[in-house]
Symmetry: C2
Subunit: 445 residues, 2 copies
């Protein structure tokens, strides 16, 4: 396979693009296994989670795609587990800067075995167990990833554990130790405390003596996460007052995940020498915040900060955008060094990833909906070896549905939904209504 892969990356990408365009024709049955090997090199195919256009859950489909070819400096990975991140939801609705061209295979995080290595890549070999953070294309049976985004697993770490740990703990580690400089005895406020990063933050904070963690989370998660936090405050309440009741002098670090929480009062909670850190996946730069996420207008979207105010108040304001760091700002070597530390902590048993649930590739929309509804506690994973859940038949509405993934290629619908919706379930209802209207039009014409 390595011999096939001496083409420059640009050429390879163009080739893949052509394949993808071909693939926009009505898709084959996603459940179908890879075709039998045939003579004269018919393109090998694999199962992949494809975003066909920006929009609701219907834009996400499991399709057959040509197997990737290796580019310079890349390794080919047979994927065994994938991680779902909030970022994937933002990509789906197009609410990120420099969004990808659709159709595109989704996913930024996967783990598996190396199946091929491009010439010149000498730090990996076939059979290595790795986790990878490619820029898209992680959610497929195979993925070709630049070796600089690939990390060898500790011997005893499962692929599912690796996919739980990689992004969340690396982000959490950078937040606490690179940017936040967490010291013994400090007090930390974490928004979205029940999410994957929130749970990782809580565990990593425990490795520093005497640190107090205050989490803000939906009421429904309190029982599940209270063991990991010193205090849990209900999301949507006047959390700043609650924090002041507990700690009249304020807190040392605020982690604001930019996920639409009402964080306005967070900055004022900072003690002198305190640090306010913005992180997450939201694209709030361009104002393209899709209504799907209906981001609350927070102070950081509106108010610029005077550096002199930070000087007078002895405060720090910082941002962490891992996607930019990795793919635009040459931060791969730094991420590698953090990943090493995270794996070392895992090997010592200092961290134990919290997994919310594991899903088949075909069930990605449902998994996304769970994250969107903030019902997950810890990481949501995908396992390509899993069979999709049997779907309950929906009440008759002209036709029955056997799966939440619509196998028809309704490209027009997907494109129309590029601006996202308030609620994916609402959207499905609307689509059903539209179809009925069209049907009626046809019947009446």
């Amino acid at each position: 396979m390595a011999e096939e892969n001496q083409k420059p990356v640009e050429e390879k990408q163009a080739q893949q693009q052509q394949s993808q365009e071909k693939d926009d024709a009505p898709a084959k049955d996603a459940e179908q296994e890879s075709p039998e090997k045939a003579p004269e090199e018919p393109p090998k195919e694999m199962k992949a989670v494809v975003l066909t256009g920006f929009g609701g859950l219907k834009s996400v489909k499991v399709l057959k795609k040509p197997e990737p070819t290796l580019g310079e400096g890349e390794v080919l990975i047979r994927v065994k587990a994938c991680g779902l991140n909030f970022q994937d939801l933002m990509v789906r609705v197009g609410a990120i800067d420099s969004p990808p061209k659709t159709p595109v295979i989704l996913g930024f995080e996967c783990a598996g075995e190396i199946e091929a290595v491009a010439e010149g890549v000498d730090n990996f070999k076939v059979g290595d167990r790795v986790v990878a953070l490619p820029e898209y294309r992680a959610w497929a049976e195979l993925v070709a990833v630049p070796a600089k985004y690939v990390y060898r697993l500790p011997d005893t770490m499962s692929f599912l554990d690796a996919s739980s740990v990689a992004i969340n703990y690396v982000v959490a580690h950078m937040l606490l130790f690179d940017v936040g400089n967490l010291q013994p005895g400090k007090t930390l406020l974490v928004h979205s405390a029940g999410g994957g990063v929130g749970q990782a933050v809580a565990q990593l904070a425990r490795t520093v003596k005497g640190v107090t963690v205050i989490g803000v989370a939906s009421k429904s998660k309190h029982e599940a996460i209270q063991g990991s936090m010193d205090h849990v405050i209900e999301r949507g309440t006047d959390y700043a007052s609650e924090v002041r009741k507990l700690y009249p002098e304020g807190v040392d670090i605020v982690l604001d995940c930019l996920c639409g929480e009402e964080c306005n009062r967070g900055y004022s909670l900072l003690k002198p020498m305190g640090k306010y850190i913005l992180y997450g996946s939201a694209n709030v730069v361009t104002g393209e915040t899709k209504s799907l996420f209906s981001l609350a207008k927070s102070w950081w979207q509106v108010d610029k900060v005077s550096p002199i105010k930070l000087f007078d108040e002895n405060k720090t304001l910082a941002g962490l955008n891992m996607r930019h760091l990795m793919y635009q700002q040459g931060g791969a070597a730094h991420i590698q060094s953090v990943m090493d530390k995270v794996f070392a902590m895992w090997s010592k048993g200092q961290i134990q990833p919290v997994v919310d649930s594991t899903w088949a590739l075909e069930d990605v929309p449902e998994a996304m909906q769970k994250m969107h509804d903030r019902k997950n506690v810890g990481k949501i994973l995908l396992d390509p070896s899993l069979e999709p859940k049997p779907k309950p038949a929906t009440p008759a509405k002209g036709k029955g549905k056997s799966s939440s993934i619509d196998k028809e290629d309704k490209k027009k619908d997907d494109d129309e939904n590029g601006s996202g919706d308030n609620d994916a379930k609402e959207e499905e209802k609307k689509e059903d209504k539209k179809k009925e209207e069209k049907k009626e039009e046809k019947e009446s014409s």
Copy 2:
């Protein structure tokens, strides 16, 4: 003495204020020793460096002042050495927020022996060798300081060393390790590299493996400081281009001392995950930057920063204002913990304060002028036991001068000079001219 000091702090301050007001009458000869002990408790007096009103060097006089009385929670220190800081120059011209009422004894840093301890203060005893960071009043033979601003010296540390180390190394330590989170292999850009903090930063940075220090300093200091820096760049040049030539990818930390350097290009030099830290003594909040310091308009005085820009760029913006932290924001305990670390490093020989020069109290104006002219390399100290320098006679201008400190109490002149001047020497010329004009008026009337 302890028995005298049961009065509440307010009452004591009022008493001191009265004494000071009395003292505004023409001063006694500053060289005169304390009066003989007399019956009926005449107020004991001490020598002190007094700011009689905001302005030029003439506003700074050595006067006799009543010895301080101990307030609640205070210790009385017999001062053996004092530190001069840029902050003292800013105070002199009134260019700080919440300026003190004049007349006031100047100085934020002194070392000496404890002579008395207020009741209830149990962490110090008479005879303890200490350094203290009072809010003003450090430059006198005696000073009463709240115990929370007093730090016991390592056994072998001299008072002069203590006065060199205290503020500069605590600030430098907080900059590098609390805010900057300096890690091995990082690159650091320091403005005012030849100053006391700059030299402390360079030494502390050396304690972290593989750190590169780039200093910006006046050409005249390059020879003196090049041993402490990896690279020295000339102040006033296009330093950003020079840094880019050396490190095309930029630097990890920029320390901007707010001292009027042209730092505008500093932020753009930051690598991803880089930190820009403002520190120093300047009051640039209110726009009251006195022309004496003719601060360059830097970006941080003009441009507010979007938190989202920090997020997108993976950058940190932070401020450190030690005066606010100590006296307004309850940071004494934190300063104590940093002082402990600095003393431990001194004891291990990891840091060796660089002393520029040591002066008699009477020579403070000259010492201030040297700092103002940026001619010092390292710390400028005051030693109350030193005799003032013999002063050369100035060319006849109506009257001869035997000292740079004018012993007359020209309160009117001092008050008139409250807004500061472009140059202290300029001011002296103007004052001389004014006097001559007055003389002429008198003669002609």
